[in-house]
Symmetry: C2
Amino acid sequence: MDHAPARLRSKPTWLINKISQHAHRLRSERLAALDARAHEFAVLAALQEFGAASQMAIGQRCGIDRSDTHATVADLVDQAFVERAPDPADRRRNIITITPAGERRLETVDAALTTVQDALLAALSPAERRQLVDLLVRVLDGNN
Amino acid sequence: MDHAPARLRSKPTWLINKISQHAHRLRSERLAALDARAHEFAVLAALQEFGAASQMAIGQRCGIDRSDTHATVADLVDQAFVERAPDPADRRRNIITITPAGERRLETVDAALTTVQDALLAALSPAERRQLVDLLVRVLDGNN
DNA sequence: CTTATGTCAGCTGAACTGATATGA
DNA sequence: CTCATATCAGTTTAGCTGACATAA
């Protein structure tokens, strides 16, 4: 890949795509060992940070499709990492609440993902990693 | 998405994934108008930069799977952007050659992708874009 | 009535795997 | 024999769409 055409190597979209692909592979391997999925981490993180919420709210927060949110929550319910209860104030809604086991799960998966990051960004110094995160956040925010 | 959990927003792998997703959407829309695919651009770029090559060599250069390389080349042959001929020196190989129409196609698609980049990176200054590309290249090279 | 939420079934495209034929 | 190349068929998964029931 160090012999990729310059036209590709100079294009951020191509670079991001390739890195995303690589990160996806690393992440999948690591998470498979925990029998976890990437979406489950996002949902747990949202619940822990913002408290119990409807599936709709969770999906919007994490940028997960409503259909996938449903499947992810169902999976988490099966594993007792979250609980799903109807909202008495609006009976269309399910209120999803993280359990203590879910909080522990969150930390476990977070630690696993941190080792993935370290492997992925091994070539960058801590300052450069911060710089990269900063640039990426701004790109993402610029695209809403 | 500006309300995404901090745990996600601080993780480069999550940021890269989301941006890659967004870039993919922008690119697909733009390329659909040209009836083009992302892989086709990569193959044409490799052929133009390194000259005629076997499908295997192209795939390795661009990081495209052998099976997808085959399909992409077949597509390009249909559109007369490349020519496929057996290698007389090694009859297992197909030598793929870019045609003049292919070179024009390459420039067309390149221009389209450049507008996609500009939209994606609108939030960054030219210097910051260069910085981002530099960091991404180093991350990619660090992962071979 | 319209709109929001959740649920379900299924589609599409990308990345990949396995099998096979052929030739070096 | 083995290895490399091309080809083809099929798998997996992520992201998404459409339809529908329920309730505000």
